[in-house]
Amino acid sequence: MLLQVNDLNISYKEVRAVHGVSFSIEEGELVSIIGANGAGKTSILNALIGLVPCGRQSSIFFSGKDITSLPSHERARKGIRIVPERARVFPRLTVYENLLTGIYGLRAKVDLKERLEWLYGFFPVLEERREQYSHTLSGGEQQQLAIARALISEPKVLLVDEISMGLMPLLVEKVFEILGDLNRKFGITILIVEQNALASLRISNRAYVLEAGRIVMKGNASMLIQDKRIREAYLGI
């Protein structure tokens, strides 16, 4: 088990956003957590990377080690990387500098040239825009940059938060294709959190359905995609 989350509780002040959620991810899997806006998806990811404290009794294990109380940057060093909601690239850094932040503290360990070549293969636009400030990029380009920033460190697990938000359908498709490729061709473990249920289910191995901070369904992605309740809840058909 690469990542194991037990009884995760998250509260903001006195409002509870996530109620006792447990899930796990095996190495090499692509897992989705799907749910509507406000279901608590982003809170879960923020707890995984340590930006939001989780409640008592909750525990998070990574590669068999308890990381529940580890600060964010140390989790990043261990290989947990995130593609945040709305990309959140550093707006006043250039594209290239944004990529460099991804290997902060790892520069000695990573073959930068080779990594960059590999990434530019996926995202040619990032090479073209190398010296541009990243706030001048379009939404889709920023998302690509955010993925590249996370990938450059050779993460053990990639967390992807609402990547379809604000992207054109064509791009959504492309981005999901890339995520699928990364998982299948390069064996990168990925956890996707999405409200675009079908797009993410199509590339996932397994999925969890989150409603109002609780997991209400889980199973194989190919099974869930057939599920009548899912189709009703997320499509109204």
Binding site: R16, G38, N196, A199, E211, G236, I237
Partner: protein, 261 residues
């Protein structure tokens, strides 16, 4: 399509933020007594539309007519006075005040217009009673003296509707009032909205839970990347291939086509 019964007419509305075209030439009408759903994926420009209608943003171009009067460019407090109440996607209660006070702030609409009236006392038995009546409508009576900041999301969404109702609006803008709610809360909210429409309030709501929107709305406008993708009855929309594509991506629609055969 220009209708005499239209309470709100949006034509060619655009909003650009720098290079980003958040809303691009969107037009639609809202009829009196209607529930119109504004649907679309995240980032489609729905909330931006709302913010223009309620006066928070000034449109880049296009016009908004409320009761046949141009209202684009007016500020939020002027819109509130004209009879448009709204809720927020990310709830914005006055957190340190009580639930009752939150409602009373809205009840003061008329008192904010002249110095004389605004110097009167606000916490009177009459206003209190009016506020309690509104709280009753949104079933928050039991929480009247709690601080708004500690309420759970569902109650806060109802509190925001209550605040909007206290303005005695003709048009209610509901921004994702269902999101983050559990099943049973969703049906409560549906009932509430239907009861409001019965009282003659027109409703424009943003939703991306298709199921809820399809059930509740008389008509639906679908936005995608700032443009209007489709408009029509829920049935029309549900079978519109463009809509399905926007929501599911091409693969999804292919899947939909094969599995429904």
């Amino acid at each position: 399509m220009r209708n005499d019964r239209a309470i709100l007419q949006i034509s060619d509305l655009s909003k650009h933020f720098g290079g980003l075209k958040a809303v691009e030439r969107v037009s639609f009408d809202l009829l009196e007594g209607e529930i119109l759903g504004l649907l679309g994926p995240n980032g489609a420009g729905k909330t931006t539309c709302f913010n223009m209608i309620s006066g928070i943003y000034k449109p880049t171009s296009g016009s908004i007519l409320f009761h046949k009067k141009r209202t684009d460019g007016l500020s939020p407090h002027q819109m509130a006075r004209m009879g448009i109440g709204r809720t927020f996607q990310i709830v914005r209660p006055f957190a340190t005040m009580t639930v009752l006070e939150n409602i009373i702030i809205s009840l003061g609409l008329q008192n904010y217009q002249t110095i004389g009236r605004s110097s009167k006392k606000w916490f009177t038995p009459t206003t209190r009673q009016k506020a309690m009546e509104i709280l009753e409508q949104v079933s928050l009576c039991g929480l009247a003296f709690k601080k708004a900041g500690i309420l759970p999301l569902g109650d806060l969404r109802r509190l925001e509707i209550g605040r909007a109702l206290a303005l005695k609006p003709e048009l209610l803008l509901l921004d994702e009032s269902f999101s983050g709610l559990r099943h049973e809360k969703i049906s409560e909210m549906e009932k509430l909205i239907l009861s409001l429409v019965k009282k003659g309030i027109s409703v424009l709501l943003i939703e991306h839970n298709m199921k809820v929107a399809m059930k509740l709305c008389h008509r639906v406008v679908v936005l995608d990347h700032g443009r209007k993708l489709a408009e029509g009855t829920p049935e029309d929309i549900a079978s519109d291939t463009r809509v399905i594509e926007a929501y599911l991506g091409k693969g999804g629609s292919a899947y939909y086509a094969t599995s429904s055969e």
